[in-house]
């Protein structure tokens, strides 16, 4: 019996032994299967993860392109910013080192606290920034004794510099740290947080060209982030320099003339639409955007009612005042309703539908032809002319000269101005166009609005015989053909008549700008005064002037030169001085200064400015 029991045990235990063996085989198969899953099926995924672990990509910054004027003068540049950094693992005693640096760096207690705070949180083989914006003196004092400061390095980083300060600030723009909106605007660029990006002006418009392309250094790092070796490197491509059509010398003459005023100057080459000057006052120093504003400075900028950050040349919309009479005259000519013999009598005012429309000259101008009506800016002449021509022809002509729509100069925030029409009024107000509104429009008031850039471009078209070019800011070389927005359609004899009137403004015995004749060349122009508020009038029709500065009229002046029939016009100018009073006294002198400067430079020889 015991034999049976023992034998049975032998069989049973041996069977169980191989059951255990089978179980182990099953378990080992699971391990093998899992290895197959991880290594064969998911191997690629894990390989990527391992590469992510191993490789750290370090950007190599690309230097941002400079911006220069048409003569190669640097308007926007990069300059080195020196920063002192310490690699804590190389310094030995860290606080001892900091104590020895202190006489040179003069760190504030707050900065020192922050350094001690950061040194504990950061890996000791990574550079720790101690101080940025080092002065030359600090750099040289440390460099000469660098061997006594183990672990100290001076790092150089390029920062944006605007050497001309406030000059052309609006046009050039500035750069700032990238935000969500910038990322959406440039989907092709891979920004990293803290990157700088053009926020306005040319910096923004030509961001892609200016920034170039970042390079990348692939470093192998270990688990703690220490760099082991460099694997690959793609060099950076520096940004392209941007050459503007701006003439910095002329720009600065304009800015000097605008000093203390609020307004804008635009100068365009009438032959191709290239912008030589785009000035807006008040301005700001774009360097402040790089280094940072104090709270007080920033508050002053954003609370200033004259809005220093706005570019008035493209964003300021003003009633064009009497400068619009040019449009009315051309409208009448193209309709065949105006020639040299046409004349009207100006008694000082006319009455239409029980409403009195005054000429600026209460006593009246008497019998006026076009030339004198322009020269003396007779309102009644243009009231009557407008009556004859009608708002539709005036609107058509205004648009042909580029008013009422953006010039497509390519700057962000450009405003279109406004040219009213019957359909516009019906759409906006649900009312019919009244004949009286045509009269108001004829002298550039009422609904009309234009930007200084539009006015300069209009003047360029007058100077070149009627072609409206798309104004350009980037100098693409002499071969680049300008883009035409509107072809001229006025025949030359008619245009000559208009020009004669505009010359009379400056050179005529009764011209409104006769006191501001340029010294070297003849000029043509038109003054304008645009009402900001409706003035109260006395019984006699005399204007009761408001004491409020903000109620004073805007002063406008548009001009081109040279204006004699032999020479080709070189400059088309528009000037707007907000609340400047009369166009003749506040705006016209600036045009004289610009023209004088420009042509004295020409005569001086050697300077190629303007001859593109």
């Amino acid at each position: 019996m015991l034999d049976d029991v023992h034998a049975k045990f032998q069989v049973d235990a041996r069977r169980r032994l191989w059951i255990v063996g089978g179980g182990l085989f099953g378990a080992f198969s699971i391990l093998g299967g899992r290895l197959f899953y991880l290594q064969v099926m998911k191997g690629g995924d894990y390989r990527n993860l391992a590469e992510d672990n191993r490789i750290s990509l370090q950007p190599i910054s690309a230097s941002r392109g400079r911006i220069i004027d048409r003569n190669g003068k640097v308007m926007v540049d990069n300059k080195p910013d020196f920063r002192l950094a310490v690699i804590p693992e190389l310094t030995g005693n860290f606080s001892d080192l900091l104590d020895r640096l202190q006489p040179i760096l003069q760190l504030s207690p707050k900065q020192i606290d922050s350094i001690y705070n950061r040194v504990q949180r950061q890996r000791s083989f990574l550079p720790l920034q101690i101080k940025s914006h080092l002065t030359w003196e600090e750099v040289s004092r440390i460099e000469t004794k660098i061997h006594t400061f183990p672990g100290v390095t001076i790092q150089v980083q390029a920062v944006r510099d605007y050497p001309q300060g406030v000059s052309a600030a609006h046009l050039l723009g500035y750069i700032g740290e990238v935000n969500d909106r910038d990322e959406r605007r440039f989907p092709a660029i891979h920004f990293r947080s803290g990157d700088f990006v053009g926020k306005s002006g040319m910096e923004r418009q030509f961001e892609v060209q200016l920034r170039g392309r970042e390079g990348v250094r692939e470093m192998e790092v270990n688990a703690t982030g220490r760099q082991i070796r460099q694997l690959r490197q793609t060099p950076s491509r520096p940004g392209e320099d941007l050459k503007l059509t701006i003439d910095l010398g002329l720009q600065q003459v304009a800015e000097k003339a605008l000093q203390g005023k609020v307004g804008s100057v635009v100068v365009i080459d009438p032959n191709n639409g290239r912008v030589l000057v785009m000035a807006s006052q008040p301005s700001y120093d774009p360097n402040k955007f790089i280094r940072g504003f104090t709270a007080k400075e920033w508050r002053e900028i954003i609370t200033n009612p004259d809005r220093p950050l706005g570019n008035k040349a493209i964003q300021g919309q003003y009633p064009p005042g009497s400068t619009f009479k040019i449009v009315v005259a051309l409208a009448a000519m193209s309709e065949g309703k105006l020639d040299a013999k046409e004349s009207y009598y100006c008694p000082g005012h006319i009455i239409r539908e029980k409403h009195k429309f005054y000429c600026w000259k209460r006593k009246g101008h008497g019998q006026m032809g076009l030339v004198q009506a322009l020269a003396q800016s007779c309102d009644v002449f243009f009231y009557k002319l407008a009556e004859k021509v009608g708002i539709d022809a005036i609107e058509r002509q205004a648009r042909r000269l580029g008013l009422g729509d953006i010039t497509k100069i390519g700057l962000n925030g450009e405003k279109p101005g406004l040219v009213p029409s019957r359909s516009w009024k019906r759409a906006m107000q649900g009312l019919v166009w009244y004949p009286g509104e045509t009269m108001i429009t004829a002298i550039g008031q009422g609904y009309l609005l234009a930007t200084p850039l539009q006015l300069a471009n209009m003047m360029a078209a007058i100077a070149n015989g009627g072609t409206v070019y798309r104004p350009s800011l980037v100098d693409l070389g002499a071969d680049e053909l300008p883009e035409v927005l509107q072809w001229g359609h006025i025949n030359s004899s008619q245009m000559e008549l208009l020009r004669k009137g505009l010359r009379e403004v400056v050179h005529g015995y009764a011209g409104t700008a006769k006191r501001f004749k340029p010294e070297k060349v003849k000029a043509a122009g038109k003054t304008g005064t645009s009402q900001v508020v409706r003035h109260k009038r006395e019984e006699s029709g005399e204007i009761i002037k408001s004491d409020n500065y903000r109620h004073r009229d805007h002063a406008l002046y548009v001009s081109y030169a040279p204006a004699d029939s032999e020479s080709e016009p070189k400059l088309a100018i528009s000037i707007v001085i907000e609340h400047g009073g009369h166009g003749s006294s506040a705006a016209a002198p600036i045009a004289k200064e610009l023209i004088d400067y420009y042509f004295s430079q020409q005569d001086g020889g050697g300077d190629s400015s303007g001859n593109s």
């Binding site: 899992r34 290594q39 191997g43 672990n53 191993r54 703690t224």
Partner: protein
Amino acid sequence: MEVGIVVETADKRGYLGLGGESSLGWGERFARFPWSLFAMLIILASVGFVVLYSATGGGDNLPLLWRQMARFGVGLFIMISLGVVGGEKLYRRYAYVFYGISLSLLVAVFFMGTMGMGARRWLSIGGFLLQPSELMKVALVLALARYFHDRAALMRFDSGGVAVPLLMIAVPAIFIMKQPDLGTAIMVISVGVTVMVVSGLSWTLIIGSLVVFGASVPVAWNYLYDYQRQRILTLFFPEQDPLGAGYHIIQSKIAIGSGGVFGKGFMVGSQSRLEFLPERHTDFIFSVLAEEWGFFGGVALLLLYGIIIIRTLIIANRASDRFGLLVGVGMTSFFAFQVLVNIGMVIGLLPVVGIPLPFISYGGSSMLTLMMAMGFLCHVSLYSKQHGRSV
């Protein structure tokens, strides 16, 4: 009492052994020694040295490699010694004594052990650091084998018959868990239970206990505090804590997976060379192998382990008595479970519990205990039925 009589009778009749203490000549002993197992272990250890060389930075830390080789040498000596000394009944006779000594040392650790890495595991004796929990693994196998050998004739266990071996397992397991060393405690319990199962525990009881255990888990879960549940969950789902508990296992899976089919090559595994892989020369050394030698390397190692396990199971199968068979099964399962738990852990199938990979991971205690286990297996092989017939 009755049980004792039965055993005595059986023993005298010679069914449970060769009758008297047989003694072999030294030449015979060495001739019968299982040299094939010996050779396989040398191959396995050599694979370990190669991987260890890479895992320690390739020559950066040669003393570490020398130390491991020296330990292996000492281990081989222990294995051969345990295999050839004494007569057939030597270990059966002293099994309970060995168990008693091991248990006392374990208790001593509890009161006067040396702390290290947050646990109290070592006992300092004459300048040597002893890890009694390692000793306990082999001592428990011997004691259980003895217990079931003595009850060979019994096909059914009464309550006392189950209670005694359960206590023999539970007492050391609790002390080990208190150290704390969860991994070793689980190993001790698994090995002990395996020996019980093979020794003839009724299937009803085995399946019944499994059902009861399975049913009690959800109940117990309800009684746990939130933080305890969290700790258990992290054990099983380390990905939820990628920078803490999960970091090891995530990096290990990346290392293994990125090895692909053929591996990255010797000494060029980025995960281990660049220190992303933690514990790479100890518990996670398999990841280094799998990263550098790929799927083929990993499977080759599994096959090598498999062959060794089959060889030791054959030894157990041919054992001349019940003690030998149970020792063979116990030592095999001890070796095999350690492989399964370690690899299962580094490939993300089991929680991270700190069990070294046999003969590959750097470390002394584990190596020496394994060599002891192999020595006992050799001893069983020496007196196997096969040889018995031939003599």
